[in-house]
Symmetry: C2
Subunit: 483 residues, 2 copies
């Protein structure tokens, strides 16, 4: 097993310099990385397509998203409210004891281990959201490339290294390493590591989480492990928009061969319309041109999961997928009655790929039982007519306990990268429901509060000085202000 001691020592030294740089310098470094990605766009897209089997349009979009999110973090750094600067001023006259001056803000956690994801060779990989949000927070990053796209990873790592040179960052603030499961475990277990970010399977994420919690010093693990992203279709809505909904659902299910963590693998349909809606979805699926999956291992796993499910007598198959080559994913759809669905946890396990289970329910009571039984999810969608929705408020309350994002229109795939996005959710969707891995607030994962008591003004971090040189929003004696 590789010994990572010297890598971590380098990362730690770089971190101690890097964290002291002002936010403008960090932002310049991020901007330089974004610029580098754009400059070598053609090269990056070509190699990523080749290694991932994803079509050029998709990878081009993913590159745009990656660059966009790097710029979002650069902007966030300069806006500055993310550091949660809070100042309680002193009162030397207070009796019986004088009140000290206390100033609090977020400070980076230290060197962070980031794992690349197979399904997003750019946006969740080398210069993806985890790496960039950790760097934005002031952490150094040790990045383990995903073995499914080694050349893409090395190319993007080279672009980051170039940005480090150009913007004069300490070398070692980003280090790229390669390796398998053993290397991953060694990285997570290294005493210098202070946090871990991961996007991938439940088995992989849970193994990393367990290793991190069993360390002498447990560290936070932000593992996004996907989910089945249930859609609840209410009766009136279905009656009115059956054809559109079937189309929307089938498109979301088969997008990118279903290889998204927000892929809707579970849909709840009222009994009265189940047959016709199932037929509509089936027709949509029939016209889908099967796409290549990320690699043969993922394709095998997809068909193995279907084969395991095919042994379940409770399932009625509306669309059977037969493996016709080593790589392509044919969509599949099974139907089950709600009482059977409730009895078997296998029916809410994620099948990575374009398979969905349609659960047929009869009543509001069924929905309550489902909501209580449901595992934690990244997203839950509720498709209802306005009137209908207000009659189901208790269901909405129960479902909001089980997810990080609740949708009332559209489909869960296509995660917006903005300020309000929450891409996380109760276990087993993630290992930390208090965090997001997409959007501006992903930065908060990699920082912790520190308070300075009676620190001489000239030594205070800029964000906490009296004259507010960064011009950021701060809470001063309980009141928000920006002066």
């Amino acid at each position: 097993m590789t010994n990572f001691d010297s890598i971590f020592t380098t990362s730690q030294q770089a971190y101690l310099q890097y964290k002291q740089l002002d936010f403008q310098k960090r932002a310049d470094f991020l901007a330089s990385t974004a610029k580098g990605l754009e400059a070598r766009k053609a090269e990056v897209i070509a190699i990523a397509c080749q290694e991932s089997n994803l079509p050029e349009g998709r990878i081009t979009g993913e590159l745009g998203r990656t660059v966009g999110q790097i710029r979002l973090f650069a902007k966030l750094l300069l806006e500055g409210s993310w550091v949660e600067a809070v100042i309680d001023t002193a009162d030397p006259e207070r009796s019986p004891v004088p009140k000290p001056d206390i100033r609090r803000m977020l400070t980076p956690l230290g060197p962070v281990v980031v794992f690349g994801a197979s399904n997003f060779p750019l946006a969740f990989s080398t210069a993806g959201g985890d790496t960039i949000s950790a760097l934005a927070a002031g952490c150094s990053v040790i990045y383990k490339g995903h073995p499914a796209h080694p050349q893409t990873s090395l190319l993007v790592a080279a672009i980051i290294q170039e940005a480090i040179q150009v913007s004069g960052m300490p070398e070692g603030v980003f280090i790229h390493v390669e390796g398998g499961v053993a290397a991953g475990q060694a990285l997570v277990s290294h005493p210098i590591a202070k946090a871990v970010a991961f996007t991938g399977s439940l088995a992989g994420g849970k193994a990393i989480f367990d290793a991190a919690q069993q360390r002498e010093e447990p560290i936070p693990v932000f593992a996004e492990m996907g989910s089945v992203n249930p859609i609840f279709v209410l009766e009136e809505k279905l009656q009115q928009e059956s054809a559109t909904l079937a189309k929307q659902f089938a498109a979301s299910l088969t997008l990118g061969a279903g290889q998204f963590c927000t892929n809707p693998g579970l849909i709840f349909v009222p009994a009265r319309h189940a047959a016709s809606f199932g037929e509509s979805i089936k027709q949509e699926l029939d016209s889908v041109i099967p796409a290549a999956m990320l690699h043969e291992g993922i394709a095998s796993a997809y068909y193995a999961s279907l084969s395991q499910l095919s042994k379940k007598e409770e399932l009625q198959w509306l669309q059977v997928a037969t493996q016709q080559d080593m790589i392509k994913a044919y969509p599949a759809l099974a139907q089950v009655q709600v009482e059977d669905w409730l009895k078997d946890d296998l029916f809410q396990q994620e099948v990575f790929g374009c398979f969905a289970m349609m659960v047929v329910y009869e009543s509001v009571e069924d929905l309550v039982a489902v909501a209580n039984h449901l595992h934690g999810q990244l997203t839950i969608s509720i498709w209802a007519e306005g009137e209908e929705l207000s009659l189901h408020q208790s269901i909405i309350q129960l479902l909001s306990e089980k997810c990080g994002r609740l949708l009332f229109k559209g489909v869960p795939t296509g995660v917006e990268v903005g300020y309000a996005m929450q891409h996380g959710g109760p276990f087993p969707a993630t290992t930390d429901s208090r965090s997001t891995s997409v959007g501006a607030y992903a930065i908060k994962r990699f920082a912790r509060p520190i308070a300075y008591q009676d620190m001489p003004s000239e030594l205070l971090p800029l964000a906490l000085r009296n004259d507010n040189p960064m011009g950021i929003w701060r809470m001063v004696d309980g009141v928000f202000e920006k002066c």
Copy 2:
């Protein structure tokens, strides 16, 4: 072992109602609890003094602090910025796909298990910071009273129950239970529990943390496990203020028989002045009137720790404490050379009580070695002259990696309850350095973000509606506003 199923079911049902109440109602409930505590002040103080052996002045102060912090959370609820409301508005014209409306805010985690602390029968117990911040966040609480002060706990629980009645809260939003270690484990392991708060020993906190991480669904544990709160005295400062510093240090060390998690158990002193400063501290300690500890078990543990340390040849004892009865703590002080201190981890383990270790150092290099070797702490204090401080900036940087609060004046005991307080720190001070257990932001431990995508306006939580009926600060399309 007690079966807690029915208790958790009640708590869960109460939670589902309680979390939907508007913040004004929650704030009224908290205010009513504060009022109840004040109304029955004499009774509460009498029983708490009797059960904890703490003097009336101290308990009176603690009651004031407890009431004050309840009111702080009530105020925080109404100010509302703590929910981190963020709105990204829709753009139906965006191409290639319309931009949805996404609104994000914090939502409560669910039923929380809180453990009472022996050393703060009021402020960290039944209606203490953990319980109140969880209730403020919208969680229900299952509270396990500390066996060291059962009557105090039951009395305060009755006051909370009264407030529940008066303010019309769902019964079961706060449930008081009693029991030992097995009960504690059962509470933490119950599937309905969604988070745990604990203040106490490293062994106790770590056992709870491990149990919570080994659940089928791991849950966050906010265990504040204390630390040795090192003070670094720099040469010039010591030269100028030796007598005052000795007095300050001895007073902080022996306050409340040393039974504070911020008790300074470690002090680093430059070699040139070690002998005289040690003598000054010793003289101060000589005049301390030994106080009764919380209970005999804690007193035995104190003397057992001292006895274990007395076998260490590297220690030179400046003040020896001999047990003279079953309950009183006599202060103790040992001296050790920095090179010896660095060799043995036992020398930075907390001794709960009024014992300190004085470490003699020679050089800045020694301080660097110490800073790198030091475990995570709640607080670190640096006593220096202004000039001196600016020469030690790299030491400050290293020390800031190891603590939640960095002090430049005064002593770590006496934790301010305000907005800027950070009472937490890297492991083993706590199990989650990203949280605080004192001050306004303690509320954030018990909430997670949820995003609502394209939710009909009338169904949105008040904090996220267009007209901002609560009048709170929100980030709208990346800009902070309050309109």
